[in-house]
Each structure stands twice: as structure tokens, then as C-alpha cells.
């Protein structure tokens, strides 16, 4: 296993029309599960291709175990890739698809036939495709194909695994199981995994460290806890967490925060200090996670504002409320048993200590 280091990587497409990556740097430690999280088109797949050596960067370096490999051919880098689009060999059985990486020229010697066959069956069983070994890719469902694609990466013992949305096309239940399985495999084998996903929940639950990518740039890097609790900017704040964080324009008025046409809330002294020191004194973007919006009865004296419940989305144990005034839409998350009726009015309480503050111009986090 190895450490993956990426330094100042950049990549353009269509002779500069599309800047897929801009100055991306990160380090994925030996034996670490590192997630690249970002929406479609953020540059995740490009990063994987550059690390694998399928494409060459326009600038920057890729290092494996501190050895530069930027100009090394893909097969010499000894990394395994699972492609989102499967990329299976169509006229070969599942078994042959899984065996090929072990018998390709240059790797043959490392895998004697008996051991090779054993390994293929072992991986196939691990992924629950043991019975499908003699089928052809066209005879498999999307989810099954994806597991074969994942298997083709896992079957080898390379320096690192690059998994590009490897479980995106599985059904929800299987995806949940595979998430657990992947993490278990990774920890047991102590392997280095670079993992791409657009699913924030997947990234948060799997990663040791994650990097949030957007438009080819890293917006934030850190542990899942860091990224969730201290989002570096408005983009990360809204991308990580479901439903997205509520972002409101607010201004500071003495010891109160004012959200125009909505509410005034008392600012805790720590918050007052923070804003006095860091903001331009007047306006901020105030972020509050749906779970931190407290819903109280309409008549409660605590209520800072009264709002109509436009919509109630029951998601099992929790429900998501859509609250609306003429100008603002807010999402609140609470236990389903406490959820009000659609069309009713509720009172809202926001505790300034649970709020995140961002600079209105740069959208960067305001912190100590």
C-alpha cells in the first residue's frame, strides 16, 4: 500500500475552454480512506484519471509513496481503478473480466493460476457475485455490473485503489450494505482508497479524510466531523448535510441579529465578539442547519417568529418541514412524532450559538 500525493494538479479540456481542475493538492495517507466529494462536473473523475495515469495533467505532480509518477504509464503505477461506467470487457465472462488484471503481461508471474482462480472466487463471493461468474456482462443488471467493475479493481493487490462512484448504481439497500462492506474491507486489508462520490452522506460515513471539490477547486479538506461542523464556506455548508443548511442574510444590530422581514434573535456574547472582530460590522450570511431550527407551538412566548408550514416530508424517524414567508423559505428537521400538520402555523426559535456565519462577499466562514 502507498501514500498518494497530489500537488497543484490542473487540467483543461477543449484547449482551455473547460478548466476541469485548478491547482488541486491533497494527500491520501497510506491505509487511509480518502473521499473526493463534489457535484457532477466538479473534477472528481478527472482527478482519478490523472492519479491513474490515464490522462496527463497540464500542471502539477502525482506522487505515489513520495515517488513522482506523473509521467509513468498507468500499468506501471500499479493502481487499480473501478470505473463508474463499468468499462467491462463485453465478450468475456465475469470470471474472465475479474481474472484479466491478474494475468495481464507483466503481472502474470505474480499470480500462479491456482492462486489466481482462488482470488477471483474470493473477491466474487465478497461482492455477492459468486454465482454470476460464468455470465456475460450483458446478462447482468446495472448493479451487478457495477459490482463486477468494483471486483475487477479489488481483485488485485495494488498500491492504491481508485474508486470512481463505485456503488452509485446500486439500489439503496445494497448501497447501504456495500458501504459497510467497503469500509470493512478497507480497514481489514489496510488498503489505501481514493473514493469519488457526489453523495455527501456516503463521504461523511466512509472517509477518514475528505476533500470537497467544486468547479475543479478544493473548497475544503478535513475529517468528516470538521467538514460537517465547521464548513469553510457557503458552498460546503449547503453541499454537506441533508437537507442543505438554511442561509439567511442578516445584519448585526447591537446585541441582536436581524434577518430582514423575518426575525430578530439575541446574539450570544461569544457570537457578538466573533462578529465584532471579524465582520465588516454590519451584514453577515447566517447559516443554520435544519436540525438546529427549533419548532415551538405558535402561542409559545419563546417563538421569535410565526411561520406557516407549507409542506411536511416524512422520512421515517425524522420529518422535514418547509416553512415559508413571502420572501424566505426555510427547512427544518425534527422527529416525526413532533411534526406539525401541513398548513398549520408554528413558532420558530433560533439559537445563535448553533449558527454558522459567513462573510457576505467572499462567502468564507467567519471564525475565531
Amino acid at each position: 500500500m502507498a501514500k498518494i500525493t497530489v500537488q497543484n494538479l490542473s487540467r483543461q479540456y477543449k484547449s482551455g475552454e473547460i478548466q476541469a481542475l485548478r491547482d488541486v493538492s491533497f494527500e491520501c495517507q497510506d491505509g487511509e480512506f480518502f473521499c473526493l466529494l463534489g457535484p457532477a462536473g466538479a473534477g472528481k473523475t478527472t482527478t482519478v484519471k490523472l492519479v491513474a495515469g490515464i490522462e496527463s495533467p497540464d500542471g502539477g505532480e502525482v506522487l505515489l509513496d513520495d515517488t513522482p509518477v506523473t509521467t509513468t504509464e498507468p500499468w506501471e503505477r500499479d493502481v487499480a481503478v473501478a470505473f463508474e461506467t463499468y468499462a467491462l470487457y463485453p465478450q468475456r465472462t465475469v470470471r474472465e473480466n475479474l481474472t484479466f488484471p491478474l494475468q495481464a503481461p507483466g503481472r502474470k508471474d505474480a499470480w500462479p493460476p491456482a492462486e489466481r482462480d482462488k482470488r477471483v472466487v474470493e473477491i466474487a463471493n465478497l461482492l455477492g457475485i459468486g454465482e454470476l461468474l460464468d455470465r456475460f456482462p450483458r446478462q447482468l443488471s446495472g448493479g451487478q455490473r457495477q459490482r463486477v467493475a468494483l471486483g475487477r479493481a479489488l481483485v488485485r493487490k495494488p498500491k492504491a485503489y481508485l474508486l470512481d462512484e463505485p456503488i452509485a448504481h446500486l439500489d439503496a439497500k445494497l448501497r447501504h450494505r456495500m458501504r459497510g462492506e467497503l469500509r470493512r474491507i478497507q480497514i481489514n486489508l489496510g488498503i489505501t482508497v481514493l473514493y469519488c462520490t457526489p453523495d455527501q452522506l456516503e463521504a461523511l460515513s466512509l472517509a477518514d479524510h475528505l476533500a470537497v471539490l467544486n468547479e475543479g477547486r478544493i473548497e475544503q479538506m478535513g475529517t468528516p466531523k470538521d467538514v460537517y461542523e465547521r464548513p469553510a464556506n457557503v458552498f460546503v455548508a449547503r453541499f454537506v448535510g441533508d437537507p442543505p443548511m438554511n442561509i439567511l442574510d442578516a445584519s448585526v444590530d447591537g446585541n441582536e441579529l436581524v434577518v430582514p422581514e423575518l426575525l430578530r434573535l439575541p446574539a450570544a456574547s461569544a457570537v457578538q465578539d466573533l462578529l465584532a472582530r471579524n465582520s465588516n460590522g454590519k451584514t453577515v450570511k447566517l447559516g443554520v442547519r435544519p436540525k438546529d431550527l427549533q419548532i415551538v407551538p405558535e402561542s409559545s412566548s419563546e417563538a421569535q417568529v410565526k411561520l406557516g408550514v407549507e409542506h411536511v416530508q416524512v422520512m421515517g424517524e425524522t420529518s422535514v418541514l418547509t416553512l415559508r414567508t413571502d420572501s424566505v423559505e426555510l427547512h427544518a428537521k425534527l422527529a416525526t412524532e413532533n411534526a406539525p400538520e401541513r398548513g398549520s402555523n408554528v413558532g420558530l426559535v433560533i439559537d445563535s450559538a448553533s449558527c454558522h456565519f459567513f462573510d457576505p462577499e467572499t462567502e468564507r466562514r467567519i471564525e475565531d
Partner: protein, 292 residues
């Protein structure tokens, strides 16, 4: 709108279709059951049942014509498929930058076969042909190529290949340019060598295109007439007398319309059955048409 009204819109193309395809076909079909010859006063178009077909069954020259057709078709289509594939692969690298190459490459295919046949005849002429002179002087082929019962058919195959290889190449080229990139990337990471990449990735993905190109070529090759007519008129002897030439001879040389029509019908049936069978055989090849 009244429902009947709609038929007026289809009428022009219906007339065209009926006039140039269906009527001649049905005419030929009915002729094949009649004794109709312009040189035989007893054959005035009277109905003779399957007589023409019975005659065909015992016609040794007809079997020879089939044999010649296959001797020409199989190597011609095979060589064109292989050369077309090579040409397509070479072109796919260059064509993204130089689209103009495609029409230039297609020139031989765009010319009429008669012209190509004439070019072939001149090229192979032992007295002044670009290929004919060296072949003759070096003693490789002592006789005139087109007058040789050994070399006349290969010469026709050569000229046919010259005309049709670009056509196969362009079909394969359009396929190559449309192939997904990921399987190639996977093969790269897996460490496949170029030959493995070709047989594991390119061939299976390109197979449907190859099937189409080969089917078109098989149908065309079976009906070959013009190139052979211009180059050898079926000779020497009957060594290049393909079915098309043989049928032409009977219809427009001996003016035996009934017998010639029967030949055309057999040819038509044969092509239909062969294409149907070939298509099934080719498409059931593992993974054909799938891009899993």
C-alpha cells in the same frame, strides 16, 4: 381531417416504389414461369410452370456461375474487411484533425464501377499498364493478366477491393469514433498490450459496425456485374462468369427472358436466405451490439 385524405400524401412515393421496384420484380417473377424468348418463335410467353427452374437445376454452367461468384465473393469480402479495419484504425487517429481525409479516401467508392473496371483493365495491361508491365517483364505472370484463367479472377478481386475497401473503412471509422473511452482506459490500467486491447475492447465494440459493412458487401458482391463485364466479360472461358454475368448473357444476348428471369429469382431467393442466415450468425456472436 378525413382519414382517406392522408393517402394522397403517400401517393407519389408509392407510385415511384411500385413503378421502379415492385412492377419489374413481379414482371420478372411472372416471366420466370413462362417460355419467353425473342429468338425462339415457339416461345411466345406461354405458361410453362416450373420448366425454366427445372432447366436451371440441370444447367452445369449455372452451377459454375455460382461457384465463380463465391470464389470471388469470399476472398473479396474477407480482404476488404481486414484492409478496411486496418485503414479505419489508421484513419481514426488522423481523422479527428483532418476531416477532409474522409471524402478523399472515399473517391474510389464514389466512382462508378465501370470507370474502376476500365482503370483496372488499363493498369493491368501487359504493354502499358502500371502494374501490367512489371508483372509481365519480371516473368511473374507471363500471359496478359485478364486473359489468364488463373489470374483473371484475382485481378477482379483486386480491383473490387480497390473500390470497396474505403467504403468498409468509413463505416468502421464512424464506429471507431463513436466508441466509449472507458473500456480503453480500463484496459490501460489492467495492463493490456495493444493486441489484447484490440481483441478485448475494439473488436467486440466494433462488431455491429463490421456486421453491417460485411452484409452490405456480401449483397453487393453477389450481384457483381459491371466490373467483370468491363474487364473480362466473364472470360477467359467461363472462369469469371459470375451469376449476374450469366443471367445477363441469357437475357440480353440470347434474349431468353423466361430462363433469365428464373435465374434472377433464384439469385434473389438465395441472397435473401443467405443474408438472413448470415445476419443471425454474425449477431449472435458473443457480446455483439452490447457496450456493457
Amino acid at each position: 381531417m378525413k382519414k382517406g385524405y392522408i393517402w394522397w400524401w403517400v401517393l407519389p412515393s408509392a407510385i415511384l416504389f411500385l413503378g421502379i421496384i415492385l412492377v419489374p420484380f413481379i414482371t420478372a417473377a411472372t416471366y420466370s414461369f413462362r417460355a419467353l424468348s425473342f429468338t425462339d418463335s415457339t416461345a411466345q410467353g406461354q405458361f410453362v410452370g416450373l420448366d425454366n427452374y427445372r432447366r436451371l437445376v440441370f444447367d452445369k454452367d449455372f452451377y459454375n456461375a455460382f461457384k465463380v461468384t463465391f470464389l470471388y465473393m469470399i476472398p473479396a469480402v474477407a480482404i476488404q474487411a481486414i484492409l478496411g479495419m486496418i485503414l479505419g484504425l489508421v484513419m481514426s487517429g488522423a481523422v479527428r484533425r483532418a476531416r477532409i481525409l474522409v471524402p478523399i479516401m472515399l473517391l474510389p467508392t464514389l466512382l462508378t464501377p465501370v470507370v474502376i473496371g476500365l482503370v483496372g483493365t488499363l493498369t493491368l495491361n501487359p504493354d502499358f499498364g502500371v502494374l501490367g508491365i512489371p508483372l509481365n517483364r519480371s516473368g511473374l505472370i507471363k500471359e496478359a493478366v485478364l486473359g489468364s484463367s488463373t489470374w483473371a479472377l484475382p485481378a477482379i478481386i483486386l480491383v473490387d477491393t480497390y473500390q470497396w475497401t474505403p467504403f468498409v473503412a468509413v463505416i468502421l471509422l464512424s464506429g471507431l469514433l463513436a466508441l466509449p473511452k472507458e473500456p480503453y482506459e480500463a484496459a490501460q490500467v489492467d495492463g493490456a498490450n495493444p493486441l489484447q486491447t484490440f481483441f478485448r475492447v475494439t473488436m467486440p465494440l466494433l462488431w455491429p459496425y463490421l456486421v453491417v459493412a460485411m452484409l452490405i458487401r456480401v449483397i453487393d458482391a453477389f450481384r457483381i456485374f459491371d466490373i467483370i463485364w468491363v474487364m473480362t466479360r466473364g472470360g477467359p472461358g467461363t472462369t469469371t462468369e459470375a451469376v449476374g454475368i450469366y443471367a445477363y448473357r441469357h437475357m440480353f444476348r440470347y434474349w431468353d427472358m423466361g430462363y433469365g428471369s428464373a435465374m434472377i429469382m433464384v439469385l434473389f431467393l438465395f441472397i435473401s436466405i443467405m443474408v438472413e442466415y448470415l445476419y443471425k450468425a454474425l449477431t449472435t456472436w458473443q457480446g455483439a451490439g452490447e457496450t456493457a
